[in-house]
C-alpha cells in the first residue's frame, strides 16, 4: 500500500468513525484504486458483522453493597487521616509558639529590660480593671447624649 492509499484510507476511516464531518478524500483516486474503493465497504461489513452491541452489565446487589462499604470505609479513613494531620499540626505549632515566647522573654532579660517589661505588664493588668467602670460611665453618657439629640 503506497502513501496515497494509506492517506485516503485514513480519511475514509476518520469519516466513518465520525472524526471528520466531511468526505475530504481524493474522489478520483478512490474511483481509480480498487483497494481504496473497497475500503468503505470493508468498514461497512465490519460494522454489520461486529454490531456495536451495548453489552449492558448490571452490578449485582452484593457488589453494590461491597462498593458502598468501600466508599464508607474510605471516607472514615480520610476523616481519620485529616484529624491526625490536624493533631500533628497542633502538636507542631505548640512548641514553635512556646519557643518563640521563651526566646522573646530570654532576649528581654538578656538586654536587662525583662524586669521593667514585667512591671509594665503588671501595671497594665492592675490598671485595666480600674479603667473599665470609667469607660462604662463614658459610654453611658455618650448614649444619653445621642438619644437626647435624636428626640
Amino acid at each position: 500500500m503506497d502513501s496515497k492509499c494509506r492517506e485516503t484510507q485514513y480519511k475514509i476511516l476518520d469519516w466513518f468513525y465520525e472524526e471528520e464531518g466531511t468526505k475530504n478524500w481524493d474522489a478520483d483516486h478512490v474511483q481509480q484504486c480498487r483497494e481504496c474503493g473497497n475500503y468503505y465497504n470493508k468498514l461497512l461489513k465490519i460494522e454489520k458483522d461486529l454490531p456495536r452491541i451495548p453489552l449492558e452489565f448490571q452490578a449485582s446487589e452484593s457488589f453494590t453493597r461491597a462498593l458502598e462499604d468501600q466508599v464508607r470505609k474510605e471516607r472514615i479513613r480520610v476523616e481519620e487521616k485529616k484529624e491526625k494531620r490536624s493533631f500533628l499540626k497542633d502538636l507542631g505549632a505548640f512548641p514553635a509558639v512556646a519557643l518563640f515566647l521563651l526566646t522573646a522573654m530570654g532576649s528581654l532579660f538578656y538586654y536587662d529590660v525583662g524586669p521593667s517589661f514585667i512591671q509594665v505588664q503588671l501595671a497594665g493588668l492592675l490598671i485595666f480593671p480600674l479603667i473599665v467602670p470609667i469607660l462604662g460611665a463614658f459610654e453611658k453618657k455618650r448614649r444619653q447624649g445621642r438619644d437626647s439629640y435624636g428626640s
Partner: protein
Amino acid sequence: MTERELIKKAQAGHNPALNQLLLDNYSILKGYLIKLTLQKELAEDLTQETLFKAVKKIQDYEPQGKFSTWLIVIGKNLYFDYLRKNKREGSFEEYQSASGGIRERKGPSLEEGVMNTFAVDKMKECLASLSREKRSVFILKHYYGYSYKEIAEIEQCPIGTVRSRLHNSIEEIRQAMEKEGLDGFEM
C-alpha cells in the same frame, strides 16, 4: 444530575453521589475489560479493583473529559500490571467461557438470544486476533465511540498512533473474518 455535579459532590464527601457515579460507569468499564482481557473472571476482578481504586483516588481526579475515561485508564493500567506480574495473556479458550457468561445475560427472547450468541462469537474471534494495544483502540472506538483524542489520552500515545492502530485493526479483523469465512470478504 450531570456527571460533573456528581463528581463535585463525590469529591466533597457525598457518599451516595460517589456510589451513583461509579455504578453509572460500571457497565462501560466491565464491558471494556471483558473485551480487552478476554477473560470474564479477570475482568470482574479488575472492574472491582478499578472502582475501589477510584474511590481512594477520587480527590485527586481532575475532571477534563468523561469520568469513564479515567476509570478505563485505571482499569487498563491494572490489567497491564497484572500481565507484567503474570507474564501471560488471555487465551482464546478462556474468552470462550467468558463470552458464555456474556451470553447468559443477553436479551430475553430466544431469537434475540441466538442473534446475540452469533454476534458475541464473531466479536470474540475478531478481538482475539488483535494484539492488546490494537484491541484496546478498536474497542474504544468501535464499541464506545471515543474520539481519537480521548483514546490517545487513555493509551498515552500520539493521535497518529491511535489512527494507525485502528487502521491496522480493521485490516487484521478483515483478514481474520476472511480466514474464518464468517462473511463474504471476497472483494
